[in-house]
């Protein structure tokens, strides 16, 4: 046996780009995050060849986890073909050689910005959410140092007060996406800017969700089968976006999150935001045999856990 047979071929970069020390740190921090659901774990956050704010946190977590047998899906706004999703997927594939897919069911690791897929994820899948602002308290306490103390104290009064003030002022909560959630009864967490439609999908989910903010150097997790409740008053329940009557223009699908496309003349048309699902539905319409998984919401926007959503949408 010769040395050159034992050695790997020379490479410009390590497998999955990050050096092994960076991966080790990330894996340790991920384990800590899983052990303390919703708690923001600081990590060093290496510079990667993408601009900060463009998914560098999610990318580092993905790169630290991806093994050669993984299949990766990357979406931005639900779309596999969005330029930044395409760019991240291209980078991951180039640095690891793993298979990529647009099919949620075929993916073992899904990196996403702003969406959770419509088809239900299972215990063997990991969802990595890119996070711009990990600190849910930043709207009421911009100093991360002070917000950290508030988390330690479980002091979320200012968040509740903000919700109350919204109702007094607008008769409506102003949080759109990134709606605050209480994880495992302890930490209030920013679920990343997913629409409220996706928020309930985190509750008692079968899959592991990892959330990572590269710029702010914080990562956190929702382990499988963990309670995740949106902050809501007993008499003013949490509400998902009201998209009743919105129908996907090409497939006729309903009850899934839609993109609104303004039309000339003041009207709008609608498209499924989850393009992986949309493509499968379109292929199904041509008579092709396509496997479509169970979805979190049915065609009438009923969530699969009855009674979880108390407010009508």
């Amino acid at each position: 046996m010769k040395l050159e047979e034992l050695a790997f071929a020379r490479q410009d970069y390590a497998y999955a780009f990050l050096d092994e020390f960076a991966k080790r740190e990330l894996r340790r921090k991920i384990l800590k995050a899983i052990a303390i659901p919703g708690y923001q774990v600081p990590y060093a956050s290496r510079e990667v060849p993408m601009a900060r704010g463009w998914g560098t946190g999610g990318l580092q977590v993905s790169l630290a986890l991806i093994g050669q047998s993984d299949t990766v899906k990357v979406i931005d706004q639900g779309d596999d073909d969005s330029v930044n999703a395409a760019n991240l997927r291209r980078f991951i594939a180039r640095m690891t050689g793993v298979k990529t897919t647009t099919d949620t069911l075929a993916a073992s690791l899904i990196q996403s910005r702003h969406r959770i897929p419509e088809e239900m994820l299972n215990e063997r899948q990991v969802l990595v959410l890119q996070v711009p602002m990990p600190e849910i308290l930043s709207s009421v306490q911009p100093s991360y140092a002070l917000a950290r103390e508030m988390h330690s104290d479980g002091d979320y009064a200012l968040l509740w007060l903000g919700l109350y003030e919204d109702l007094v002022k607008y008769r409506e909560v102003s949080y759109g996406a990134d709606y605050p959630v209480l994880v495992n009864g302890r930490y209030v967490m920013a679920p990343s800017p997913i629409p409220r439609f996706d928020t309930p999908k985190l509750h008692q989910a079968a899959h592991l969700t990892l959330l990572s903010a590269g710029r702010e150097k914080r990562l956190y997790a929702v382990p499988p089968y963990t309670n995740v409740y949106p902050l809501e008053f007993e008499d003013v329940p949490f509400q998902i976006e009201d998209q009743r009557g919105w129908v996907d223009a090409s497939t006729g699908a309903t009850g899934k999150f839609m993109s609104e496309i303004p039309q000339d003349g003041g009207s709008s048309s609608y498209q499924l935001s989850d393009t992986g699902l949309k493509q499968k539905l379109e292929r199904q319409m041509t008579g092709e045999q396509v496997e479509i998984g169970a979805t979190y919401f049915d065609d009438d926007t009923n969530f699969y856990i009855a009674g979880f959503l108390k407010g009508s949408s």
Partner: protein, 363 residues
């Protein structure tokens, strides 16, 4: 050009990068060399903020990005983060650097003397338009007269001696092992209040424009500390390594370094008052940034700093890669979040979710 809604995102990326290259010309070794040789202050700035001393790579980064500073800094940082850390150099002592410029605004003359050195500070800011008409302008040759001393004492030494500055220096790191034990901002995320080593590292890598903005706001009176420039130094420093086996110290090369110290009376809050010292240093020569940074160093240490000069505020908002990256991320599609916001706006416009409850209460 397809942006997001259209299919074929990967093709769109390749085309847009191709267009950029066509518009900005080919990368040539000649151009890279020219940038490295003729734009040393620009190269210094990229190296300093990129926190990697590599003039050739910094010039390449500038050439590759058409001179887009933030992109160039990001390229260097992203390259840096792939490089293994083989050794820790010995600390650079200011007294042992080869000083080319060293001035103090605090006294007319100082021990070791004022050395004006290479600077445009007192030049007339007049465009040399004749350079456009001729091949080159010959600058008059200077004769070497008095050899400069190889080292200069620190003004702070004198100030400590006479009791103007707080007595004891913090323990100085001396061995490479001690250097390796310092908290490293690229390996340990800063949690505020940050250790002093991390503060100085963050300032060294900070965005020149950002530091200038915050520093200038202090100079204009927002939490103003009334500083005096104690000493500004431009120098070359030997990067000294210990041989891993023999322990012999050898130089791996010279780097350009600069440092600034400012002092301010009364801000320590102590009675009787003494001078407070602010310090900043970076790779490359960047006087403007360091003067502002050393003032911010004092401002951040005040018991109740102005909100714009608290340590967390200054350090987290002057990080060039993070600030520029997040700023341009707003170009990414946000239609999911916007749609979620619109849902709230439409509901609020229609009277809000609270309406039925309110009616119950008022009924």
């Amino acid at each position: 050009m397809a942006y997001v809604a259209a299919r074929g995102g990967e093709q769109a990326i390749q085309n847009s990068e191709g267009l950029y290259r066509i518009l900005n010309g080919d990368l040539t070794r000649q151009n890279i060399r020219a940038i490295e040789q003729h734009m040393p202050y620009l190269v210094d700035r990229v190296m300093g903020e990129g926190s990697l001393y590599a003039p050739e790579l910094a010039a390449l980064a500038l050439a590759q990005t058409g001179g887009d500073l933030y992109e160039a800094v990001l390229l260097l940082r992203a390259y840096r983060s792939t490089q293994p850390r083989l050794f820790y150099a010995l600390p650079i002592s200011s007294e042992k650097t080869i000083v080319v410029r060293r001035i103090s605004a605090a006294f007319k003359d100082i021990p070791g003397g004022q050395i004006l050195g290479p600077t445009l500070d007192y030049s007339h800011r007049v465009l040399k338009l004749e350079a456009l008409e001729t091949d080159s302008i010959q600058e008059p040759k200077l004769e070497t007269k008095n050899p400069a001393p190889s080292s200069y004492p620190k003004l702070t030494d004198w100030q400590r001696e006479v009791g103007l500055l707080a007595g004891e220096l913090e323990p100085v790191v001396q061995t490479s092992r001690e250097v390796a034990a310092l908290p490293d901002i690229t390996r340990e995320p800063p949690v505020y209040p940050a250790p002093r080593a991390q503060r100085l590292q963050a300032l060294a890598r900070a965005d020149t424009g950002g530091i200038l903005t915050l520093g200038y706001s202090n100079m204009r009176g927002y939490g103003g500390i009334h500083p005096t420039v104690n000493e500004v130094r431009l120098a070359y420093a030997e990067v000294q390594l210990e041989h891993p086996i023999t322990g012999a110290v050898f130089s791996a090369g010279r780097v350009r370094v600069s440092s600034a110290e400012v002092v301010t009376p009364f801000s320590s809050g102590k009675t009787p008052p003494e001078l407070s010292l602010g310090f900043a240093a970076c790779l490359g020569w960047n006087e403007t940034k360091l003067i502002a940074a050393s003032m911010l160093d004092i401002a951040m240490s005040l018991p109740n700093p102005h909100p714009a000069h608290s340590e967390e505020f200054v350090l987290s908002h002057t990080e060039p890669v993070e600030a520029s990256g997040f700023c341009i991320h707003y170009k990414l599609p946000h239609y999911v979040t916007f749609s979620s916001d619109l849902d709230r706006v439409r509901k609020a416009q229609a009277g809000g979710s609270l309406q039925p409850e309110l009616e119950e209460v008022t009924a």
